[in-house]
């Protein structure tokens, strides 16, 4: 089948009916103490992925819940065939509780605990053993046709420059519209980088409650800087953004909001929460690239579009990230990391619509198996948006 002439994609159907574009076995450490053993298992067993983090213990309240939701969401992402949940044993984020939630989807889930297995070496052996079985089972599954109504595409910009708002972000806006038109879901995120553009998005909300939520999440984010007594510009825009010509957070936001295209805003969801609607959805995340990426992937995004003006290696352990350069010079300089170039818009060689169409075609290719640069380079970034102190 020639994918160019259809919107048909090829993916892996999961027991809960969802469709993945990858078929990973995830070694999921619920506590920082288990991350090194998890990494060792990925080195022993082909087809497994994991990630390093520093969370999972001495967390309370909403902060506990958000971290828990993120772990569970990573396991539930349809790009994951099965999960080996790795715990230490005494942590607040119990491996067993996380595994129990993921298992409700019908996916294969195993729990391995360092304390129960008598230390690191036996844990690695046990984890590798169950993972190896899972990988072989996963390898027997074949891709099957699915369409955009089952695809969630995350959108993100990082390392922005003044071209972001002129080339790559408007092109991603075109893609967002194409995805929504094809029946799919596009996630807009990075609340921080929508400060100053919220009125434009609130106008596109499907109802008053969604519009009200837009102003609420913006106020909460802005108040975090105000309560700290600092100019938010000390952290955002970043030094690289400023070097690239962006002067204020508002300017960056107005460029960033272009990624949302033109369709109505259907709902506003919490960090790492799965969308309940199709169409354009706003997830409340910070502007931090990796925390935002992690939130969208934990919310079920199978593919992510990431625009950058300065260049970035960013990738996810479980979701392909298609990285789009805003200018040609950076695309050539960072060809290891960047998948597509939207700098042709700046040079007048392509229109925003043409680049958008090109990105849309790439989503079809990648969703059906083509690897992105960050996957090839094993850029397995993961970071949770913590909203409370560690105790």
């Amino acid at each position: 089948m020639n994918l160019e002439y259809s919107n048909q994609l090829l993916g892996y159907r999961r027991p809960d009916g969802k469709v993945g574009v990858r078929n990973h076995v995830l070694i999921l450490p619920t506590i920082t103490c288990a991350t090194q053993a998890a990494k060792q298992i990925t080195e022993l067993v082909q087809g497994t992925v994991s990630f390093i983090h520093q969370h999972g213990c001495a967390q309370v309240g909403e902060d506990y819940d958000q971290t828990f939701r993120t772990y569970v969401g990573m396991g539930l992402n349809p790009n994951v065939y099965g999960v080996v949940v790795l715990g230490l044993g005494c942590e607040t984020h119990q491996a067993r509780s996380v595994a129990g939630e993921i298992a409700k989807s019908g996916k294969p889930v195993e729990v391995v605990s360092i304390q129960d297995n008598g230390g690191t070496l036996m844990t690695i052996a046990q984890g590798a053993k169950v993972a190896a079985k899972m990988v072989q089972d996963a390898s027997a599954q074949r891709r099957e046709p699915f369409d955009f109504s089952e695809l969630i595409v995350g959108t993100e910009c990082g390392g922005s420059d003044a071209c972001s708002g002129l080339s790559a972000n408007p092109a991603v806006g075109v893609v967002s519209d194409l995805v929504v038109e094809a029946g799919g879901t596009a996630i807009l995120a990075e609340t921080t980088e929508l400060i100053g553009a919220e009125h434009l998005l609130a106008k596109r909300a499907v109802n008053d409650q969604v519009a009200k939520r837009v102003y609420e999440v913006i106020e909460q984010m802005e108040n975090r800087a105000i309560l700290m007594g600092v100019d938010i510009r000390t952290g955002n825009p970043s030094p690289g953004n400023i070097e690239g010509g962006l002067s204020s957070l508002e300017e960056k936001s107005l460029g960033a909001s272009n990624k949302s295209g033109t369709t109505p805003l259907q709902e506003l969801i919490n960090y790492a929460e799965p969308p309940s609607q199709k169409g354009l959805v706003w997830m409340d995340t910070p502007g931090h690239d990796i925390e935002q990426l992690t939130g969208m992937v934990a919310g079920g995004a199978q593919v992510v579009l990431f625009t950058s003006g300065r260049g970035t290696p960013t990738g996810s352990p479980i979701a392909p990230v298609i990285k789009i350069s805003t200018n040609t010079a950076m695309f050539e300089n960072m060809s290891d990391n960047m998948d597509l170039n939207a700098g042709t818009i700046i040079e007048g060689e392509e229109t925003i619509g043409e680049v958008g169409q090109r990105i849309f075609e790439e989503i079809k290719e990648v969703s059906s198996g083509k690897l992105t640069k960050s996957e090839i380079l094993k850029q397995h970034d993961f970071g949770i948006w913590r909203i409370g102190p560690t105790f």
Partner: protein, 103 residues
């Protein structure tokens, strides 16, 4: 033959435009946007991606790009001058501007 200087202005109501290539001091550059057309003589070098004023901007006045407010002039800005963090301040997320902070 002169060099073809490339710039972009997002909305006719904007008071800044963007250099689409490195532009030298003294250059007279065209600024065109939806029927609006003018020339601006640059008073300093403007690097690729950076902004310059397309009209004089008073200190404290709002700076517009995309037809929206991107900040306020922290000093008087003349036409053709570089507009960036040295003379444009953000208005949002300014915890440093709050007189009595919530404890």
């Amino acid at each position: 033959m002169g060099v073809q200087y490339k710039t972009v202005m997002m909305k006719p109501s904007d008071n800044v435009a963007i250099a689409l290539m490195d532009l030298p001091k003294g250059a007279v550059v065209p600024v065109v946007c939806e029927g609006h057309q003018q020339e601006v003589q640059l008073v300093q070098d403007i690097r690729f991606g950076h902004k310059f004023a397309v009209k004089p901007i008073e200190a404290g006045a709002e700076i517009l790009k995309y037809g929206e407010i991107i900040g306020r002039a922290s000093s008087e800005i003349s036409m053709g001058e570089h507009v960036h963090v040295h003379n444009l301040e953000g208005i949002r997320g300014r915890g440093d501007k709050v007189e009595s902070r919530v404890q």
